[in-house]
Every structure is written in C-alpha cells, then in structure tokens.
Amino acid sequence: MKLPLSWLTSMVDIDLPVEDLVEIMSTHGLEVEAVTRPGAGAAGIRTARVLHWAPHPAADKLRVVRVTAEGGEGEIELVCGAHNFEVGDIVAHALPGGHVPGVTGPDGAKGLDLSARAIRGVTSNGMLASARELELGDDHAGILVLPADTPLGADFTELVPLGEPVIEIAVQADRGDHLSVLGVARDLAAILDTRWQAPPVPEPVAGPTLPVTLDTDGCERFVTWALEDVTVQPSPPWLAQRLAQCGMRPIDVVVDVTNYVMLELGQPLHAFDLGSLRGPSLRVRSSSGGETLTTLDDQVRELQHGDLVIDDAERAVSLAGVMGGLDTEVSAATTRVLVEAAVWDPAAIRRTSRRLGLVSEASQRFERRVDPEGAARAAARASQLLVELAGARAVGTEHVYREPTPAWSQRERIVVDPARIRALLALDLDADEQAALLARSGSVVHLHEDQHLDVEVPTWRGDLKRPADLAEEVARLHGYDAIPATLPTFEVTGGLTPTQRLERDARDAALAAGFDEALTRPFVGEHALIGVVPSDGRVRLANPLAKDAAAMRPSLLEGLLAALRRNVGQGRAGTALVELGRVFRPVDDPLADLLDAVVDADWRWRAPDGGDLPVQPRAIALAAQGLRLGERWLDAEQRWSVFDVLAVFDEVVARLAPPDAQGWHLDRVPADRPGLHPGRTAVLRLHGHEVGVVGQLHPDEADRRDLPEPVVVGELLLEPLLAVVPDDGHPPVKAVPLVKHPALSVDVALIAAEEVPYAVLEQAVREGAGDLLDGLWWFDEYRGEQIGAGRRSVALRLRLQAPDRQLTDEDAERVIDAVAAAAEQVGAALRR
C-alpha cells in the first residue's frame, strides 16, 4: 500500500520528519518497504493553452506547436511528438531551464534539463510533458491534457504536490485495515497517541433509487447512491496524481473516484451505469453454478456454486467483490450512475478470486475483511466527489442489511486477564495501563472488579479476536523495544541425536576422500538417471514450477550429473561432488519393498490419519569426473575412478554400522544397469539386499550429457543404516587386547578364470585361512602367457596372528594348504 504523505496527514496529526515517521511505523507493525518521491526535481513547468499547431515541415510524426507563454500571455513555439491534443487544450509546458524528472536519457540517466534547441530545423522552446515524464503515472501515449478550468500560466508543482514523499508499506495478512489511507492514519494515531479524522461526508439523500434484496449470508450490507447528470470526463490533476502515486492508472472521473475512495477509506466501490441496469431492482445471491457472466475485462466467466453475484431484474450484472459486469459498465455516454458499496464474506471472495485467477484491488480488500461500518461512508464520499468533479446530482440512497448478521461478521467482546498478558510479554504494565493502550486503538475497555478487562474492539480491526491478539496489541503500542532479554531455563537436555551425529560422519567420510559437498535443487523432468533400486516411480508435483522440474528426484544422481556438467563447462580439469539428501518415490515403489526388507524398524513417514506419505529415505551420492587433483598438479594424471566411490561407501558403512555386528558390510555384485558401463558397475548389497550402486557412466550416457569420460557415480541409501540406530545410539565400541606376539605375513597367488570375481576369491581365502587370519590385502593382479589366456592371477598378502602364541612356519604351511583347498572349491588354483 502506497501512502502519499499529504493524504495521510489530512487524516492524522503528524508532526515528524519523514525519516522519523518511517522508523516509528516500521517498529510498530507498519513495515515500510520504500519511500519514493515521484516527480521530485520537476521545475519550470507551467500550464499553457495550445494556440496553434501544424505538422513539422521536416518530420511526419512531429508537430510544431504554439502555446501561451509564461503568465498566460504571448506565444512560445515548440516541437512535440504527441498527437492527442487540439487547439484550446491546456497542457503542461516544461520551459527551457526547467527540469523534467521522468525522462530517461539515451545513457540511462534519469531526468532531463531543458534548453531551447533545434529539432530538424525548428527551434523548440521546451516540451509538452506526458504523465510519465512528470512521474505522474505510466501513461506516455500522449501528453497530459488538463481540465478546461485549469488556470493558465500556473506553476504545475503548485497544482499538485509533485515530489512529495510516498510511503510504501507491506501489509500484513491480518491487517486489511492497513489497505487504506484512513486505516493507516487510524493506526498511526494509536501508535503516536494522537487524533485522527475521516473526511466529512454528506448525509444520505431520501429519494428514488433501486430496491435491493439480500438473498445470501455472503453479503452483510449493501449501500447504493443513485446519481444523475454525471459527466464522464478526465479527473483533475490532483486526483490523477494521487492514483498514480498509489500505482493506479487514471481512466475517467467515475472510475477514478471509486478507486480514489477505495484507497482513501479501504472500502471497494462499484459504479454501475444506471441506464443499463434492467429493473428497476437489484438482488444479491449466491450462485448455484452453471451460469456465465462477462466481466469488465471482456472475459466470459463461468460461475460456480458459492460465487456471489448481483442481479438486476433480468440477469447477473456483477461478480460481487471481484469484478463488475461488462454490460453495465460506465461509458463515456453514461449520465446516470449507481454507486455501490457492499460488505462481502471474505472466504467467498477469496474462493472465487483464486479459482478465476482474478485478483483485483477490490478482492484483495474484501478477502482481508473490510470495516462494515465504512461502507456507508465510502458510498457517500464517492457521491460527494462525483458531485464535485463530475457535475453529478445525488438523487437517492439505499442501505440494506442482512438480518440476522451473518456469522462471519459477528464480533464478540473479548475478556482478558491483564496478569496473563503481563506475564506473557514480560512487560510491567498494570490493568489500567493495558486498558489505556487498547483504548488508543479504538477499543472500548471496561475494567471489572475482578481485574478482568472486557474489550469491545473497533469494527475495523478484524484481527483482534482473542486474548493473544490483545496481548500483541498491548505490546505493539507500548513498543516491542521495552521487552527485556532473558533466557529461559528448562528441565531438558539437548544435543544431537546419535542418528544426527552419524549423518555428519557419513558426510565427513566423503569430504575426507576429496569430494566437495553440493546441494542441488531436488526436482527432475521426465528423464532421470537412477542409481539405487531403479524404478519408473515418481513423486510428481501438482503445480510444478517448470516442465523439467515436474517431479521430485527419485535419485540423487541427476542433480549431481547436472552439476558436473556445469563444472566441465567452466573448464575444470576435475570435479568430485557428494550430496546428502532425501530421494522421493511413490508409496508402493520397489524401494519401499527394499526398505521393508532391510530395515528392522518403522522407516515410513505418515500423516496424522495414518496414511503413508511418499517414500523419502535419506541417501548419499557421489559423482566425479576428470583429474583427481584438479589443475594444480599437472604431474598427477590420476583420474577419479569407480574405486574411489566404492572406498567412500565402505568407509560410510564402517562408520555408521553397529560395532562388531555381523554382516554390516557392502557386498559388491557386478551388475548391468541402464546408463552405466556394463563392465564397470556393481550393486552394493547389505544383508543380501541392494542398498547402493556404483558404476562408470556408459559412454553413450556420458556423450549425451556432454561429459568427458570417465565419469563415475555412486548412490547409497543411508536410511538402512540410520533408521536402525537406537534412541541412545549403538553400543559403544569395545577395546580388544593388543596381541604382543609378532604377526606372520604370508603371500599367496590364486589363478582363476577371468569371470571369477575377486570377491569370490577373497571369500575363499578367508574361509581357508580361518581364525588365524588377522588381515588381508590384495596387492597384485597378473595376466600373461605363463598362466594362459582368459585367466588371471591375483596376489594377496595375509597377516596371521594367534592371541596366545608365536606362529611358526608350520602354521603358515597349514594356512596355505587350507587356502589352496578352499580356492579349488571356487575353481581357482594356488600358484606355488
């Protein structure tokens, strides 16, 4: 809401510099967003009459114009590009030496200092200004043409307060009363503890008007004024300026007056062309749907059940509170006008306005509730202005109320305990002081003998309904600054839960390995590469922001690959990214079955009615491409590989799994997955179930994404590790006695067909070595003629140890023999 200062001060006594006023407003619930001074700097602008014009001899689109000189006498010649004026019109003439603030120069600079200059051979002494050039609005289709009774030779800045401060406030959702100059003036009076006054308005006129019936609880009251002899003409500059200052475009005096009064008093008005209303009667009803109405914007609107409409004797003529009908619109030929001010059910207006996507200045005000007592004043004010500015004659007034008062409009007195307010706010205000503060904002307050306050709030304050609302009002008017700073003491202990600590551990493992953490927007389009447990299941959005963001990510990979691409585009030699976050799948997705199988705890999120929410487990994903060390070490040609990803996931499981528990490691099983390299992809299994996948991007997929190969990715579900953490955490890790005897180191090499995975060989070695095995590392892989084509040799170093004795060569021999035997079981031979 924009508030021209002169308008505001016409209704409330303010004796403060604007800066101080703005500060006070901001700290008392009138949040100031900006203070502008449209038209500031305008100088040397005089009203003048057009005496003569002729086409420019050297330019088709220009006119050479002669206007009255300063003081209204003599003649000045100038060149003008506009065509919307005729001889006799009164215009705003910016003279040489003057300044026009609303012109943007070719260099982008605002404002133009005028001097006499030749335009295609004709000397132009200044210019005729448009509304935009004077910052009186956006209109630049032609120059300003002023009303015929405008005095000649007058300084334009004396006619309208160009450059005065306009204070723009952000209106809180519950403060519909702030959507008017009067409303803000009233609140400022309460804040500053001073007086306010509404503009005086004429008394109702007894005379012929239209009878009105209210057939719905959606309308609380309906006020009309019938006007005759209306001349539809442009509004005077002062009124046009105020509309422009408030961001509205002047149209004609009838429309402008209804807008003006809405801004001034907060009550939206509608002006019907009385001549087009068939009747003569009006009926207000709630639509039962299935009818249409063409609104002012020439759109055919289909009405639905519950839309509030106004009918004349034959048809719907207005979509109440939202937009009037086209058929009864005021036109240039209108001479009889019906001004209507009604009070509508906020909820009904909101429904209709949202459904039709029709948000108007009126609907915004009705949605936030208007002061029911303000309707009569607003209709009278508009009629008064039309009498003044459009030559109208008021012939009749009608006030109709819905009986009994609809429930949504009923107000009850509020009973509050000042002691509670005082305790809640930690403000040392007694009952009398609180009562005085509430009275400042217009409430009628009675202090009862039992110290309770009985509060009747003013009709314009729809936000004050409960004791808590009055507590805020007390604090607001007293000033939030007075609230002391104390710290609560509570009998609870805080801290991260064990699960939250483990989430940090998972991230740390990836960071330690050199992956930078990325946070990407979790939306995907139709195509998305999926890591763990692929499925077509998508959690789609009902109102997505974009087509390529129509669903929630089913996997973290898509966001990371897009991020990799952006980094490649920056010319980076290598990028490694990790993201932790939720992935989203439908309730019945295979991922849900997997979690059911592997998580021995309730992992689902539910609505209060027990309904399942989308499956949204936590996961970690990695994606890397290019050189490991980036461009800083040109000697290091090492590239990110699938093994880097595997290493991180192993470490994550090692850190997150319950200590010393069986089976909490990832089994790697070669796999073939869409988008991934068939020979370089493995599924990661926990307790036999797929919880992760690691692979290199398929060459075609990398090509499609314009990513230089190799690109490695991996995704691991964290939920199976996190959901099972007990509230008090996993049991602590227990120390094991450190064996004093030295360990024995034994190397073995196993030869097997290429198809036999290392994991199988390692498992055989472990089984063979038995209890003496303390540790195991593979250190060589060999292919060659010596062992035959299609075969490979894998060398492993075994560390053997017994807790109670020094091992001997015989122990080593026994282990080697046992390993050989176990290897044979899986088709491998020990290389002696």
Binding site: Y480, I483, P488, V492, G495, R521, L545, Q616, R632
Partner: protein
C-alpha cells in the same frame, strides 16, 4: 711369513712408521679412504700388529721399553684416526645435507579433502549454538501432510499461504505438500511429546517461487520451539539476542518489530544491528518469531492455559548470504566448484 725380530727394529723405524701413518691418516680424503689407512697401519696384517706380536719374544726389560714405544705409536695412531674420522664424518654429513637441499618454497602436494557446503556449515553452526543452550534437534519429512504443515499450525483452509501460488502440492495424494517451512516438525514434536519442549528443526523447505537472484523454490530453515510453564516474550528476545551475538558478533543488538504469522501471537520480525564501512549502520532482518499461538498449542494437544512458548524460524540461506556476502542465491545451488571450495 717369517717372524720379525722386534729387537732389530730401531726406534727410528717406529718414528718413521708413526710419521708415515699419521701422514696417511691426514691425507685420507673420505671415510672409505680412512678405513683403508686404518687397515694398512693398524689392521691385523699391519706392521704395527706384527711389531706388537713380536714383543712377546723379548726379554722383560726390552719388552717394556719397546712395548711403551709401540703402544705410544698405537695410541697416537688411534687418536689421529679418531679425530680424522670425526672430521671426515662431519664433512660427509655436510656434503649429504648440502646434496639433500629442498626448495621448501615449492608448493606441497595439497591436502585436498572436500569442503562441506556453505549451507551445511552455517546450519551446523546454528544447530551447535542452540544445542549449547540445551535444545534437542528434530527432523521430519519434506513431502509432508498438509495437516502438519498447515492445519495444526493455525493456517486455515482458505489461508493465502495454502493456495497454489505459494505451496507446491504433491500429485496423487489428498493433501500432501512439499513443506513450506520446518514448522510441521514442531507440530510432530508437540503431538508426540509433552512439555517442557526445547527443540530446533533444521531442514529443507519449498515454495513455489521462480528462480532468480533472491528467490529459490528450495531453501532451508532452522526453526526453534520452546514450550514450558512461564515462558515469556522476554525469553524469546533473550534467546534470539544470544543467538545473534554468537553468529554475528558480540557487539550486536537485535530489534523486534511487530509482524504477523498464523502460528504465533504476538509475532515479530527480528533485525540484527550492523556496522558497515564508513560509519554506515542499521538493521538487517534475519528471522521471524513469536509466542506460540494458543490455537497451535491446543491443536497439538498441549494445555494452552498452563503452558506458553515461543517459536522462531531462521532462513539459513539468508544468514549465509548476509554473513558471507553472497549476492546471488543461485550460487548456493549451482554446485560450481569455485564456490564450493571458497568456504
């Protein structure tokens, strides 16, 4: 080899031997050389050793005299060897040290652990501040039931925030939204635990805002909730003052301005003071807060007559952008490694 008659050797020969040996020691160029000299003059097959062995054939008088002469020779030789060895060892060490010189102004191979995201760092810092004040940390789903996101928080069915212009709805469900704040976690906490409650709820949140320099459809919050007997608005102010000072500096002040949120009453926007360059100072809005609306307490099954509480919501992006002067919110979500590694 024939035995040598030690008596036949005269003193001058011993002197000559000593002169020769000491000269050889002095001439040894390195430790290997010196070892050869030692073997030649003091080793098993040296003249000195031969002479020493011959002593036992002499008469006692003779043996003593000659023995003293030979011992003197041996001692002189060993002293010289020792001294020269030390000299040569020092030279050798110096040579080695010189040869091993490294230019330590060369950059080392960098440790290159990854960096946690700026938002993670700020979120953890905020969490740690409140954990230090005794708060628990709670989480919840991002695709959330409308009841938790709205109804229990006093946001009525026709509240503007529920309309599509602000909220992203999940298709195929009756009333599931991408949570618009982390307040539904507060609702989950209040409906499952009894006061006293002191909890913070960090996490991702969503609004139907198109992406530009200051808007993002996804952002993150840390919300806080305290519900207990006798909680006052002063407690809210004190808590937020302590938080602001921990995060922005000990000289900071805060300012509460009246505002409106459906789930708090009274409500406040909270500004923190700043002192910029050139004496420029003022207030920056950092968060919204208020006393928990009695309707919320009641809806969540808490006795609003007995308990009061406060709640606040901090935008992590906003804090990160203010504190680290990030001008464009998109930088936080584009994962440009130059940005990620800056923090």
């Amino acid at each position: 080899m024939s035995e040598i008659d030690v008596t036949e050797i005269d003193v001058s020969e011993i002197d000559a031997l000593q002169t020769e040996a000491l000269a050889a020691v002095a001439a040894a160029a390195d430790l290997d050389d010196l070892e050869k000299v030692r073997v030649r003059f003091a080793g098993k097959r040296s003249r000195l050793n031969t002479l020493q062995k011959g002593l036992r054939d002499l008469a006692p008088d003779e043996r003593r005299t000659r023995g003293q002469q030979i011992n003197a020779l041996r001692q002189a030789l060993e002293a010289a060897l020792g001294e020269r060895r030390q000299q040569l060892a020092e030279v050798a060490l110096d040579t080695r040290l010189e040869s091993e010189r490294l230019d330590l102004t060369l950059p080392p191979r960098r440790l290159r652990p990854g960096r946690p995201h700026l938002l993670t760092q700020v979120e953890q810092e905020i969490i740690d501040v409140f954990v230090g004040m005794g708060y628990r940390v709670a989480g919840g789903p991002e695709a959330e039931a409308g009841v938790f996101n709205f109804d229990l928080l006093n946001i009525e069915a026709d509240h503007p925030a529920r309309q599509e212009m602000d909220t992203i709805y999940v298709d195929g469900f009756d009333d599931v939204v991408l949570r618009t704040h982390t307040s539904p976690v507060q609702a989950r906490v209040m409906t499952t635990t009894s006061p006293p409650i002191a909890v913070i709820c960090p996490g991702r949140t969503y609004r139907a805002d198109a992406v530009d320099a200051t808007h993002s459809p996804v952002f993150s919050q840390v919300e806080g909730l305290v519900v207990a007997e006798g909680i006052t608005m002063g407690d809210l102010r004190g808590t937020l003052l302590a938080f602001s000072r921990r995060l922005f500096g000990h000289e900071r002040e805060i300012r509460l301005r009246p505002s409106f949120f459906p789930f708090t009453e009274p409500s406040a926007e909270v500004d923190v003071s700043f002192e910029g360059a050139g004496g420029n100072h003022g207030w920056l809005e950092i968060l919204g807060a208020g006393m928990v609306d009695p309707n919320v307490l009641t809806a969540c099954g808490i006795d609003a007559e007995r308990y009061t509480g406060f709640a606040f919501g901090i935008g992590i992006e906003r804090v990160a952008m203010l504190r680290h002067r990030v001008a464009d919110i998109r930088d936080l979500f584009e994962a440009d490694a130059r940005f990620l590694r800056r923090f």
